[in-house]
């Protein structure tokens, strides 16, 4: 008997995805798809919630974790939190998309369909506990991503972005499955739970190490970390901006879900092997992302490099804790905290960028100069989100940084201290380019070719307003009361409680 309660969110989402497609077929008002989609997202949140608090509910029975299909699909605290995050991110992404899609000739119904399909894939990833499910889920996240990146069909940049994204994506995917095949060959299993208890004789084999290496490196594509980060700026710049928002949050988080699941559920006992790898990748990503971002003049590209750097920050606790052989639960929790907060602030940042871009029709910082004059409210939000990304209290980002530092320092060895110091220096560098945006929009004068009068009359689309409102409130609220996030991450990391 299948535990239908456990997979109810997936069922609802699957139905929603199809419903959106169907809606597109029967209506002419294309944004109906968005409405149907959002309703479906809300509906999917309900079982996620009831699953989380099932024991406290009268009509509900069964406790987490709920294992399905021979342990290949598990609904536990961690997966619920991540699913909630995905759904929230998709929700905001849809809100960001509506006005954008209507501003030009886009295929709208298919757009929402693909976005929700990608979300579906991400949600499946969150629960997958074997490589087959994980890979299929991953592909459902990636495939629509490739397509959506090219959604500005007439725009060469968008075409190019789609092709670049696709090619890098598939070779990373090939590497990943190569790794999976090697792991399978040496251990004989696809299940994370079985891999976690693989005997030492297996673990010591070079093939095992190589397979693990390939799997991790394959995932770096999705999270845009070194070495598969190269696509990020071009794709961010070329894609339709709401898609970029989704890629930078939903898709990236899906990558991290893969990372987290593989690292902590499949290879927790081999942390000494993958720890140093991620330690190196973290440092390389944050340093490279931050340094290159300093030179960027396009705000979306800048966010692309910022995304690389942030991936480095998120990997830091992984690497440090694992390399040092410390308690992994805290690093796990820290990454979840970072992911949740990053999602909120990055979506907010993209919201502002979309709203601004809708007015100036450009993402070049020079054109955004003096935005303060023609859109003061938006500029305040922009400053807020970028400063949050930079980790300045009392905006939510500080807690993410704190959690990251805390997890690295808490490791208590040179693996942790050194990466914490490097991360600290990096966060200073990061401020340089985040503040560059603020400086340009707030301190600089409006360039001659921009007409502030005209721009100030353009209204903000209501959907954008809602998206910005939600993210703004969250960024402020979570900045002041980060305990909420802390508790969520604690809830999520309960699955590791007895592991070590």
């Amino acid at each position: 008997m299948i535990d239908y309660h456990a997979i109810l969110p997936e069922i609802i989402l699957g139905v929603t995805v199809l419903a959106v497609l169907a809606t597109d077929l029967v209506t002419r008002e294309k944004y109906y798809g968005a409405i149907v989609g959002m309703v479906g997202l809300f509906a999917a949140l309900v079982p996620i919630f009831t699953l989380g608090v099932c024991d406290d509910l009268a009509f509900c029975s069964g406790s987490l974790p709920r294992e399905l299909f021979g342990g290949s699909y598990v609904v536990d605290q961690y997966s619920l939190v991540m699913k909630g995050l995905f759904i929230g991110a998709a929700f905001i992404a849809i809100l960001l998309s509506v006005a954008y899609l209507q501003s030009d000739r886009f295929y709208e119904g298919e757009y929402y369909f693909l976005l929700l399909a990608a979300l579906f894939g991400a949600v499946v990833m969150a629960s997958s506990r074997d490589f087959i499910t994980m890979i299929v889920g991953l592909e459902l996240v990636s495939g629509p991503g490739f397509l959506l990146a090219g959604w500005r069909k007439a725009d060469e940049k968008s075409n190019e972005a789609a092709l670049k994204y696709f090619i890098i994506g598939v070779i990373a995917f090939a590497l990943l499955v190569m790794g999976v095949s090697l792991l399978y060959g040496i251990s004989g299993t696809q299940l994370f739970a079985d891999l976690a208890v693989a005997p030492a004789a297996v673990v010591d084999e070079p093939v095992f190490l190589l397979g693990m290496l390939f799997v991790f490196l394959g995932f770096t594509f999705k999270i845009s970390a070194v070495p598969f980060h190269v696509w990020t700026p071009d794709v961010y710049e070329g894609s339709p901006t709401p898609v970029t928002a989704w890629l930078s949050v939903g898709s990236k988080t899906a990558g991290f879900v893969g990372f987290l699941s593989v690292a902590y559920l499949a290879f927790p006992t081999h942390a000494n092997l993958w720890g140093p790898l991620l330690w190196i990748l973290a440092i390389a990503s944050m340093t490279l992302g931050n340094l290159v971002a300093v030179k960027q003049t396009n705000i979306v590209r800048l966010l692309g490099y910022s995304s690389i750097a942030q991936a480095g920050f998120m990997l830091a606790p992984f690497g440090a804790a694992a390399a040092a052989g410390a308690d992994l639960q805290q690093a796990f929790g820290a990454t979840i905290i970072y992911l949740l907060i990053y999602a909120v602030m990055n979506l907010g940042a993209f919201g502002v960028v979309i709203a601004g871009g809708a007015r100036v029709k450009s993402y070049e910082l020079d054109d955004w100069a003096g935005m303060w004059r023609w859109a003061p409210g938006l500029t305040v939000l922009l400053a807020m989100f970028f400063m949050s990304l930079a980790g300045i209290p009392p905006l939510a980002g500080w807690f993410a940084k704190l959690a990251m530092f805390s997890a690295t320092i808490g490791v208590g060895s040179w693996w942790g201290y050194s990466i914490a110091v490097i991360a600290a220096l990096n966060s200073v560098v990061a401020f340089v380019y985040y503040s560059k945006v603020v400086k340009s929009t707030v301190f600089d004068n409006v360039p001659d070719h921009v007409d502030p009068e005209a721009l100030s009359r353009i209204e903000l689309a209501p959907t954008l307003t809602v998206a910005l409102g939600v993210t703004t409130i969250l960024v402020l609220f979570l900045g002041v009361f980060p305990g909420v996030i802390g508790n969520l991450s604690k809830f999520a990391s309960e699955i590791l409680a007895g592991t070590f």
């Binding site: 209290p393 704190l402 208590g412 966060s427 401020f431 301190f443 802390g486």
Partner: protein, 527 residues
């Protein structure tokens, strides 16, 4: 008043300005009068509440934490909303609310360009929250958050309303608007320091787990520090990290270079707040966090702090002597004055730390006044170049007298507030904490005393160039040059009065601080 004493009173002082900022944000752009009134009322109420705190404060138990509360805040890392004040923080809290009030009064009719009272006042209010919050926080994470909250408003203040003249950055030869250079420099320096500070905090947190539950609580960590939990290489590195964080903020030589630029570029009220309060966050950190938590390490580093402090004194004074820019001169003078404060801290004695606190308060009042005046002068003359000024006593006699007063106070004239901190620092460095090098500290004492001479030198030099002589022809028919106006009087007179009052009756500050400091030093260094 039970509710008042159990945390609410203090929370009011901290968060009322934030409420004010929110209200300000809701006021339509056109309604400037409402903005001013909201800001003024908020500032007054906050000040009054802080005065009520000061009046209800039990001076007999100044060493104890009062008006405090300890509520859970972030469970995940056991960071709490733990606030409270003792005799050390009380004067600084009152100073913050006081300066904020004066700044609001001053702004009433002195708006820097671009004209945007709403944002400016809101930023002032946010600053107020950050400043008072830092002084009341007893949890490292809370402290960190408040410590950082002040960065953004100040960054915007400098960046938006700052000096737009071009500055050629030496060495790398960039030409950049001063406000842009100064704002980012200010931020990066502080961020650089505070990033390491945060690492230090976290290290303490995890180390505290060795002997009990992990904690960020400053008081508990102080207990642990006294018990010798933090030692060896660990203590060394943590100290280094925290030192960096606080020293940048103070600022100590050679981390001070952001200060002249920030002060010069900032609008008047920004300079005032920066000088009067923000610099104190660093020294307060030394006293509240570094010394109690890492006493042995503090003792080990004392000579280093002392040497840097005295270098700061001499160096700041010499730099002042070469200045032609009034605001830069005052800014460099801050480096010197904070050097005295740090010299007091470096002695690690009750006298030295008392001296540091009264020095902080005095510097807040006096340098605040100086920056007010310098700002008003720059506003009238449209230049800060001392070579072009002169004869102010003829052009604006009252302004001249006030400038003279402030300069005298700044050079540490006895009977004015500035004297106590300077003199007591010197006093303390003759007999520093047991175990510190007497020879070194006595040498430092002599060098620092020479610093007082140079302080007098540049202050008199400034008075000579600005106040005295015959005014240059360009000013004679300048109708901008009206003397001190109503709002300036209202903002400055309290500073003058307090400078004299503390000078004559230092118990206003020492009455609160002494017991607390003696207790602190006794606990940290075992009597």
């Amino acid at each position: 008043m039970e509710w008042f004493d159990s945390g609410w009173g203090l929370s009011l002082v901290v968060f009322l300005p934030l409420v004010g900022a929110l209200v300000l944000a809701a006021i339509p752009r056109a309604n400037e009068a409402a903005m001013k009134w909201v800001a003024l009322v908020t500032a007054i109420v906050t000040f009054v509440v802080s005065i009520v705190l000061a009046m209800r404060f039990d001076y007999g138990a100044a060493a104890d934490i009062q008006f405090g509360t300890n509520l859970p805040w972030i469970d995940a890392i056991s960071a709490n909303y733990h606030i409270g004040i003792d005799g050390i923080s009380l004067p600084l809290v009152v100073l913050s609310t006081f300066i904020t009030l004066l700044v609001v009064i001053y702004s009433w009719e002195h708006w820097p360009e671009p004209h945007n009272p709403k944002l400016l006042l809101a930023l002032v209010m946010i600053l107020a929250t950050g400043m008072t919050g830092t002084f009341v926080a007893l949890d490292l994470i809370l402290f960190f958050v408040f410590f950082e909250i002040v960065l953004l408003p100040m960054y915007f203040m400098i960046g938006i309303w700052g000096d737009t003249s071009m500055r050629v950055v030496p060495v790398v030869n960039w030409e950049i608007e001063l406000r842009l250079y100064a704002s980012i420099k200010f931020f990066l320096f502080t961020l650089f320091g505070s990033a390491f500070m945060l690492l230090g905090f976290l290290a303490l947190y995890f180390k505290s787990g060795d002997v009990g539950p992990n904690t960020f609580d400053i008081l508990q960590l102080s207990e642990l520090g006294r018990a010798g939990v933090f030692t060896g290489a660990f203590a060394f590195w943590v100290f280094a990290a925290l030192f960096l964080g606080f020293a940048v903020k103070v600022p100590m030589w050679p981390l001070h270079t952001w200060l002249p630029d920030a002060h010069t570029a900032a609008p008047t009220i920004g300079s005032v707040i920066l000088a009067a309060i923000l610099l104190k966050l660093g020294t307060y950190g030394f006293i509240r966090i570094l010394i109690p938590i890492l006493p042995d390490e503090a003792r080990r580093w004392a000579w280093f702090i002392g040497v840097l402090a005295v270098i700061g004194i001499i160096y700041g004074s010499l730099a002042c002597l070469a200045q032609n820019d009034v605001k830069r001169l005052i800014a460099y003078s801050s480096v010197g004055h904070m050097g005295f404060v740090m010299l007091g801290v470096a002695t690690m004695t009750d006298i030295g730390i008392n001296a540091a606190i009264i020095g902080m308060v005095a510097h807040g009042l006096i340098t605040g006044l100086l920056f007010f005046i310098a700002g008003s002068m720059a506003h009238r003359y449209h230049t800060r170049d001392m070579n072009r000024l002169g004869g102010q006593m003829l052009l604006m006699p009252k302004m001249g007298v006030l400038l003279g007063f402030a300069a005298m106070a700044s050079l540490g004239l006895p009977s004015l507030a500035g004297f106590w901190g300077e003199f007591m620092s010197l006093l303390a460095s003759f007999n520093p904490l047991d175990g510190l090098s007497l020879g070194l500290f006595r040498t430092l004492m002599v060098l620092a005393s020479i610093g007082t001479v140079m302080t007098a030198g540049y202050m008199l030099w400034m008075l000579r160039s600005v106040n005295f002589g015959e005014p240059a022809a360009e000013w004679l028919d300048d109708h901008n040059l009206h003397d001190v106006d109503k709002f300036e009087w209202m903002a400055w007179a309290p500073l003058v009065v307090m400078t004299i009052a503390i000078g004559i009756y230092p118990k206003i500050v020492l009455g609160a601080t002494n017991d607390a400091v003696v207790n602190l030093v006794n606990k940290a260094f075992g009597g």
